[in-house]
Amino acid sequence: MTAASRLADLGEQVILLEREEQVGGHLRNWDRLFPNRRPGYEVLNYLTEELGSKVDIRCLQTVTTIFSGERDFQLQLASGKSLRCDALLLATGFDLFDARRKEEYGYAIYDNVITSAELEELFRSGAPITTRQGKVPKRVGFVHCVGSRDEKAGNLYCSKVCCVTGVKQAIEIKELFPEAEVFGFYMDLRMFDRHFEEMYYEAQQKWDINFLRGRVSECAENQDQSIVLKIEDTLTSRPLKMTVDLLVLLVGFVPSPETLRLAAMLDLPVGEDRFLEPADEHTKSTLTVKPGVFLAGAVKGPFSISNAIADAGTAALQIHAYLKTL
């Protein structure tokens, strides 16, 4: 969205193809954003207003084929329509890791194991947060790095934003249930950006949230449908067993099949981590090896919202510069 409006501002004619019925991507499902816990819709509204009617937005569109011409591209759409363009920007984002693939956590099998996305949806809808049996959770656990930094899940990379999301959601749970015990089970806490570490400090100091270092190895369901989890308490180097009423899995980023399909059509290089490779990691991070094709945001790997917006701006400028050369 940002890239589109920037380009429009620069006087370019932009067509924004969206697969969903609305633009905004994952941001639409997010209640509040880290680190300041401001409502997600604020940002979304800003972006939408900024976009206004500057660009031609076409929702529910799927690109079936792309013909790469000398200096332009022909897009064949599922709708039957086709359209020509001088430059392509892939901003098709990411998918969330399918938590069912971590079978040992029992997601979609045990009643009270949910994902961070589901919890966020609960926050957003304002629906009461209870166990599936309808009782107020007395102890809530957050499992970090679900589907990230995990050879068994086939993802060696770090999804970057789950740590801070975990801390944010933990605080939000405490805001709702001050009496509840909240645990974060982590391998490392990567508070990589500004105000993140302070938020982590607040979580400990103000909200009394416990962070326990170790990766949850397996979960099981008790008779009362609470979850008993096993973990090594690496700080005492002893195995630890704990019952939680609600277990939240902080699911990471995975490349979306759609992105990979488009990449294949444009034969763009794909990295070991199955995210798209820019022309140069440092100096040409929004360009690709293919002239006229550009990348922005989470097609290149895990991105925070602020970083994605910044990246989109850069991409817009790169595209503008490129179009001048035509």
């Binding site: 069912r100 079978e103 040992e104 029992g106 997601y107 979609a108 099998i109 045990y110 009643d111 397996e218 099981a220 369901e221 008790n222 008779q223 449908q225 008993v228």
Partner: protein, 356 residues
């Protein structure tokens, strides 16, 4: 518990099980632990299902116990297994069925190794040739005996005289299923239902009318863990593991435990006795233990075989309460009578556990 979730997983972990012409290899220890089980397996396949099962008198241990106790090197184990395959090849069979879970695990391990490192396979062929002058083909299909029973569970049910239902209350029996660690923990794809929620025994229980208990320590090892058991001083570890499981399953009030491994039923059965003697605890209802069955013994009961022919009298946790629930008739008099009627002698009654 969201059952759909499990079903979806079970769909993912389907495995091919040959339907006839089996080359059967036995377990080292089961005939001492639960003497009738392997015999019953053969009887069911041959007499009930009319399958072709071949046993070769020359087959040996797979050396798994030695391998897992760190006394047999992997090369040796592979060569021994190569010999088993050569016996199969000679006898003109391609479907390999093992009675032992550890063997099954080891066979899978060896075959995977050979698949990924063909040079190792060549080496082993060389060893075998050198040592015995034998050659061999790889089996087309390797299954554990419980896989085979699983495959024919409906046939068994249809021929059966009993179902896993309490004939007094009409309620389904509540069953704890325990899978031997070496069945699918090493190679989830080689086990029916995978490693986390194996289906092989669940399938039998459900299709025979029972209800499966999923308790927190379900995944935990029975406590055999070769090294732990074989060294006497280490048996404290072994029994502690079993105890952990008993304590975890007790609140669910299971009617019996079903297993598919040589070691597990042995330890569930004997350790319940040992614990009752050491700590005075029992885990079943009103002072009884929780009966432990092998899948063959259970199949036998379903098919209405005489409990004593199934060797249930050698269980240390008495099975009578279970037989009563199943409504299976038995003669207490003949419990300790041998095949030809001679007296096998009665064991001392346990101090705390109810004995019949």
């Amino acid at each position: 518990m969201i059952i759909e979730g499990k079903k979806r997983l079970w769909q993912e972990y389907q495995k091919e099980i040959a339907d006839d012409r089996y080359f059967y290899v036995r377990s080292c220890v089961r005939q001492n632990f639960f003497p009738a089980s392997e015999k019953v397996f053969l009887r069911i396949l041959k007499e009930e299902l009319g399958k072709d099962v071949y046993e070769n008198a020359a087959h040996t241990t797979c050396s798994g116990i030695g391998y897992h106790s760190d006394v047999v090197p992997f090369e040796t184990a592979m060569t021994v297994i190569a010999r088993q395959f050569s016996l199969m090849t000679e006898s003109g069979y391609e479907h390999f069925v093992t009675s032992c879970i550890t063997s099954f695990g080891l066979y899978s391990e060896v075959l995977e190794t050979w698949k990924h490192f063909p040079d190792v396979l060549q080496k082993v062929r060389g060893y075998l040739k050198e040592a015995t002058g034998r050659t061999f083909e790889l089996p087309k299909n390797v299954a554990h005996a419980s896989d085979v029973i699983f495959r024919f569970r409906n046939e068994i049910a249809s021929r059966g005289t009993h179902r896993l239902v309490n004939h007094l209350t009409g309620k389904p029996l509540r069953v704890v299923e325990h899978i031997g660690c070496h069945y699918s923990k090493m190679f989830p794809s080689k086990g029916v239902g995978g490693a986390e929620y194996p289906y092989v025994l669940v399938g039998m229980i459900e299709d025979w009318g029972g209800e499966v208990i999923d308790y927190p320590e379900r995944r935990h090892c029975c406590g055999f863990g070769f090294r732990q058991y074989i060294v006497r001083a280490n048996r404290g570890y072994s029994i502690a593991n079993s105890k952990k499981k008993f304590e975890s399953m007790k609140p669910y009030q299971p009617d019996f435990i079903l297993t598919n491994c040589p070691g597990c039923p042995m330890f569930f059965d004997r350790w319940q006795y040992a614990l009752s003697e050491m700590e005075g605890v029992t885990y079943g209802q009103n002072g009884e233990g929780i009966p432990v069955l092998t899948y063959e013994e259970l199949s036998g009961l379903i098919l209405g075989y005489d409990p004593w022919d199934l060797g249930l009298q050698v269980h240390q946790v008495p099975v009578e309460p279970l037989l009563d629930k199943l409504g299976i008739p038995y003669d207490p008099e003949t419990k300790f009578a041998g095949k030809d009627g001679q007296d096998l002698g009665r064991p001392d009654a346990p101090t705390h556990m109810k004995f019949f």
